[in-house]
Amino acid sequence: MRILLVEDDAILGNATSIYLRNNGYAVDWVQDGKQADIILHDEIYDVVVLDLGLPQMDGLNVLKRLRARKQDTSVIILTARDDLEDRITGLDLGADDYLIKPIKLPELAARLRVQIRRKHAVSTAVIEYPPLTLHTKEHLVTYQGQPFALSPREFSLLETLLVRVGKVVSKESLIGNISDWDDSLGSNAIEVYMHRLRKKLLQVNIEIRTVRGLGYLLDKKN
């Protein structure tokens, strides 16, 4: 994976490029907008990590010119400015993501993975949540390689919770996601399916927490 890092601060640029290289990316690092513009003209990258406050040419300008050349390289904007207007402008000009400095390097790496996934249109065939593995295409779940029995509705619930792992999922979202199967389910029906799913998951030390008035959260039992 080829990454172009455009960052004028030496210390931040140094740390970022080394970290990304350590994580298996091929990283080219330039420190001003003009150089970035020239290099983007000639070379092809998978993702550009673009700082905005650059000498020679402003980051947004680099982005504008990139998009004007009809290059659809993914761009992640990295900036210290967190004003709403700036964010909207950046996204409107064609950026794929907008990160506020300082960012945790692992977070940057995760966002890069999102961009690469999108670009290669790789839908997540498999979601791992040890000790379970969810196979989205086959609509089944395995536990240590063996099938883990779930009804279609229970599967949908689990899938929705897994896709948003770490976040609380509201009841409304769940109803929306599993009502494709059927006419819309009431919230009581959801609770019934939840109850069944819970029982099954407890057997593998996974629990679904109820957050009052808000929704559900998938969690590992300690």
Partner: protein, 481 residues
């Protein structure tokens, strides 16, 4: 200078015409009165002359019709230096006994009842030979030793003397009045000038002030009204001074708050630089990292606080929205943080839409800080509940926890910037509730603090750590359009 000139002009512009009008009316009235009196006197004089003639006739005439006597009499009584005087005496048959025929004929034009009333007199104007005469027409009973007869005596006089006199009166009235008017103008002019002088002084005093000088303006010997304005200006400057001082304090406090974690990180790194043992170095780095995280957090909070200042509010869009939606969104976001501490975070929406006018971004900032505060200062396994309550014209947002709470003495202070309750979480910036307060103020909402659980004074053993904290924000409810 503009404002004051127009005040003076304004005063003059109605005072002077009013004064002129007054003097005009006053002069006219005086003049009319004087002329009236003059005319009455002149008329009375004419009449007296007729009486004198009548008396003479009755005293000295053997026969009332003694013509020679009459003519002598006329020379004595009717001598006048200025005006031409005519007379006519006729008997009750209309026969002219003496005097001007023209005058007698003038009487013919009078109405009938004029002519024959005895002991009565009337005045009228007539024109004889192109001159205007004022005439008195009197009827007398002349009786002497021999006989009694009714005669009509008329005396006519031109008006020259009257005109001369009336002109004299006119001048005598108007000239003093004009002088009075002139004097009044000067008095008014001078009075206004002197009266407005203190305003001049105040204006100069304020203009001369540079923006750095906010000390009170001191003027001496100024009237009450101007001194009231001066006091108001001084009060405003005092408020500005306080505001600037508060801002300077804030900047100083902020700098201090930023320096401290920075110093911590640098110290750890300096230590790491001198250290040779890689494991020891590895132990120091997370500490440096932690300090820098805190620094970042403080900086972000400062930015949010700056964005929530009233001065920044001009660019906000306040729109009608249902707080339930925003609260749920933020609560969902913050739930994972609560779960990390095994805190039971719950949301209780209102039964009806909680409609208020607000700015979405600011409310986001506010709610994040409110809920974060509750989670941060509640112990593991604790409970935090966010609820919305809608009454007739209020929407109340309540965040309640069962943590250690805040002592009554400190409850007033927790909204102060950089205030941190002693002995609690060191990772906080002390700005969370200050931000909440600023944003509440922006929305015209009031904020109040109380214990979550009423302190039961009878049970002294009640452990204070479960006092809890309840923060209530009261917004004005708007009706759905």
């Amino acid at each position: 200078m503009q404002k004051k000139a127009s005040l003076r002009k304004k005063l003059l512009s109605w005072l002077i015409p009013l004064l002129l009008l007054l003097i005009l009316v006053d002069s006219t009235i005086l003049f009319r009165l004087a002329i009236n009196k003059l005319e009455n006197e002149l008329d009375a004089d004419l009449f007296r002359s007729t009486k004198d003639i009548a008396k003479f006739l009755s005293d000295f005439g053997n026969s009332p019709t003694d013509i020679q006597l009459l003519e002598n009499a006329s020379k004595i009584f009717l001598n006048d230096e200025v005006d031409k005087v005519l007379y006519s005496i006729n008997d009750n048959h209309g026969q002219l006994l003496s005097g001007s025929k023209a005058l007698q004929h003038a009487a013919d034009t009078l109405p009938i009842n004029y002519k024959h009333q005895q002991s009565d007199h009337n005045f009228y104007y007539t024109t004889i030979a192109n001159e205007e005469f004022r005439v008195v027409h009197s009827v007398f009973n002349i009786s002497n030793a021999q006989s009694t007869q009714v005669v009509t005596i008329q005396i006519a006089s031109t008006q020259k003397w009257r005109k001369t006199l009336s002109n004299t009166i006119l001048i005598g009235i108007v000239v003093p009045q004009l002088l009075l008017a002139l004097l009044s103008f000067f008095i008014i002019w001078f009075g206004i000038k002197k009266g407005l002088a203190p305003l001049d002084a105040l204006q100069d005093a304020v203009y001369k002030r540079s923006e750095q000088d906010l000390s009170p303006i001191e003027l001496h010997n100024i009237p009450q009204e101007v001194s009231l304005v001066t006091n108001a200006v001084n009060q405003l400057m005092q408020k500005l001074q306080n505001l600037i001082a508060a801002q300077n304090r804030f900047v100083a406090d902020a700098a201090h708050q930023l320096r401290t974690p920075l110093a911590g990180a640098q110290a750890q790194l300096e230590l790491a630089e001198q250290e040779v043992d890689p494991f020891a170095i590895k132990a120091m780095l997370p500490r440096a990292h932690q300090s820098l995280d805190k620094l970042l957090h403080t900086i972000n909070q400062l930015l949010i606080l700056a964005r929530s200042q009233p001065e920044a509010s001009a660019s906000f869009k306040m729109i009608p929205l249902d707080l339930n939606i925003i609260v749920k969104e933020i609560a969902l976001e913050m739930a994972p943080a609560a779960i990390k501490k095994n805190i039971d975070l719950g949301f209780e929406p209102s039964l009806v839409p909680a409609l208020v006018k607000g700015n979405i971004e600011r409310l986001h900032d506010m709610l994040i800080n409110l809920i974060d505060n509750a989670i941060r200062y509640t112990q593991n396994d604790g409970k935090v509940t966010v609820s919305l309550d809608v009454s007739e014209d209020l929407v109340q947002l309540i965040v309640e926890d069962n943590g250690p709470g805040v002592s009554h003495a400190e409850q007033d202070k927790i909204f102060d910037r950089f205030h941190r309750v002693v002995g609690t979480d060191q990772a906080g910036s002390g700005l969370g509730l200050a931000i909440v307060k600023e944003i509440a103020v922006l929305h015209g909402a009031t904020i109040s603090i109380s214990d979550a659980v009423a302190t039961d004074k009878t049970t002294l053993e009640k452990p204070l750590q479960h006092r809890g904290l309840k923060v209530t924000l009261s917004f004005n409810r708007i009706q759905s359009s």
